[in-house]
């Protein structure tokens, strides 16, 4: 069993090191989310409620995540490494878990910048928002990684991933916005946790079929 988690750790480390060296994805995500927040300011009418900005924050987070997810398997695809990974001796679900962890790390980095920026530009954030963001990130990473693997073998690639992801992302948005604005965030946070659990299991179990030849 330690072999499995060792594989997962190795795969995640590979992605993180690659990103550290090439600095492709994370800087773009950071810049995108800040730019989006600025656009939101200009997009909102002057008498917009505080709730509106909270909703927009979540939209910004989801689209920033999509930006990062689109690139999740591109390196493997272009390097021809995908087949090598799949043929290697590890359990294919380890590929999924490793990739999900690295995507989660990228999302976390993006949020470390996005949330303070939001607090600066719009209104202070509370602990519920932070917890909701963590839970939502897990859900997004878990589903997005699998869908990214599907999109990468298609002809439409970058176009396809948002189409596949957004319907599945609606519950995440509901949970996230709900936790941010509701008086009792507990229900929404619990819902996000449920989403994470259910889709993590489903993605983990079905990933090997997505990459099978």
């Amino acid at each position: 069993m330690s072999g499995y988690f060792g594989d997962v750790a190795a795969l995640a480390r590979k992605d993180l090191l690659l990103e550290l060296r090439s600095r492709d994805t994370v800087p773009a995500m950071l810049l995108f989310v800040v730019a989006a927040l600025v656009v939101f300011h200009f997009a909102l009418p002057t008498d917009a409620s505080a709730r509106a900005t909270d909703g927009l924050l979540w939209i910004g987070l989801v689209f920033t995540a999509l930006l990062g997810l689109t690139r999740a398997f591109v390196a493997e695809r272009e390097g021809g490494v995908m087949d090598g990974l799949v043929l290697a001796t590890f359990d294919r679900s380890a590929i999924w878990l490793g990739k999900t962890l690295s995507v989660l790390a990228f999302l976390g980095l993006a949020e470390v910048v996005a949330l303070p920026a939001y607090a600066l530009f719009f209104r202070p954030i509370g602990w519920e928002l932070v917890v909701a963001v963590v839970l939502a990130d897990i859900g997004i990473a878990v589903v997005g990684t699998l869908l990214s693997a599907m999109a990468v073998v298609s002809r439409a690639r970058e176009l396809l991933l948002p189409l596949l992801f957004l319907p599945l992302g609606i519950p995440v948005i509901v949970g996230g916005v709900g936790a941010t604005v509701a008086d009792e965030p507990g229900r929404y946070l619990a819902f996000l946790a449920l989403y994470d659990l259910v889709f993590a299991i489903l993605s983990w179990a079905s990933f090997e079929y997505v990459v099978a030849e």
């Binding site: 589903v143 699998l146 599907m150 073998v153 298609s154 002809r155 439409a156 396809l160 189409l163 596949l164 957004l166 319907p167 599945l168 609606i170 519950p171 509901v174 949970g175 916005v177 709900g178 604005v181 509701a182 229900r187 929404y188 819902f191 449920l194 989403y195 259910v198 889709f199 489903l202 079905s206 079929y209 997505v210 099978a212 030849e213």
Partner: protein
């Protein structure tokens, strides 16, 4: 027996749906609250339930494909989801008409069923985008099957999400006629439900036969070329 399945389903549809619609339009009494326009319910809800059934059937076939690694199920899963999408769109259209009669608007976010079907429509429309942009073969079959499974898991999750969101955004939830109907109304509803399911089964078996014919023809053409 196998070849006459479309005919059998068509016959069942004719009797059940034809009879059901006739009963729904002419025999069943008016609803106490909503009057004549409540009769949309007799096709709208069966269409919605049939759509769910088609998506479920498609997911079942998808599961068989992944489990047994038999590509034969791909065509069946795809056809079921195709029919499901047609019924899903019909749900949205009939639901919209009902919203117009009941509340005067063509769309309302307060109707959980309408919102659910909008989400499902987006999801399953993306299924077709996925299929069209991946090369045919085993991998496309596998990917489609996994996506179909995600669909059925999405249904209860979306249901919860929509419920949670309606508490937040629209505190007033408008209800349709519930299970407290007169006996005759419930009977007609059931007849229409089974009739719709037969309609879906008819369309499914015809479409599947058509696709199989396409496949056979292609093989023949290659053999004779």
């Amino acid at each position: 027996m196998r070849n006459s399945r479309p005919a059998l389903f068509a016959l069942a549809t004719l009797v059940l749906l034809g009879g059901g619609i006739a009963l729904a339009l002419f025999w069943v009494p008016d609803d106490a609250d909503q009057g004549f326009s409540q009769r949309i319910f007799y096709i709208h809800v069966p269409i919605a339930l049939t759509a769910y059934a088609c998506f479920g059937w498609g997911a079942w076939k998808a599961l068989r494909l992944l489990w047994l690694r038999d590509e034969r199920y791909d065509l069946e899963s795809y056809t079921a989801i195709h029919i499901g999408l047609i019924f899903g769109v019909l749900t949205l259209v009939t639901g919209s008409i009902w919203a117009r009669t009941s509340w005067g608007v063509w769309w309302t976010w307060s109707s959980r069923q309408l919102v659910m079907f909008l989400v499902l429509f987006l999801f399953y429309a993306a299924y077709f985008m996925l299929r069209y942009s991946v090369e045919p073969g085993r991998r496309r079959a596998n990917i489609s099957a996994v996506y179909a499974l995600f669909g059925v898991v999405l249904v209860p999750i979306s249901f919860l999400a929509i419920r949670l969101s309606s508490d937040l955004i629209h505190p007033v939830v408008l209800k349709k006629s519930g299970p407290d109907m007169a006996g005759s109304m419930f009977l007609v509803f059931c007849i229409c439900l089974v009739g719709m399911l037969s309609l879906a089964a008819t369309m499914y078996s015809i479409e599947l036969t058509g696709k199989r014919l396409d496949g056979h023809l292609r093989e023949l053409r290659e053999a004779l070329a």
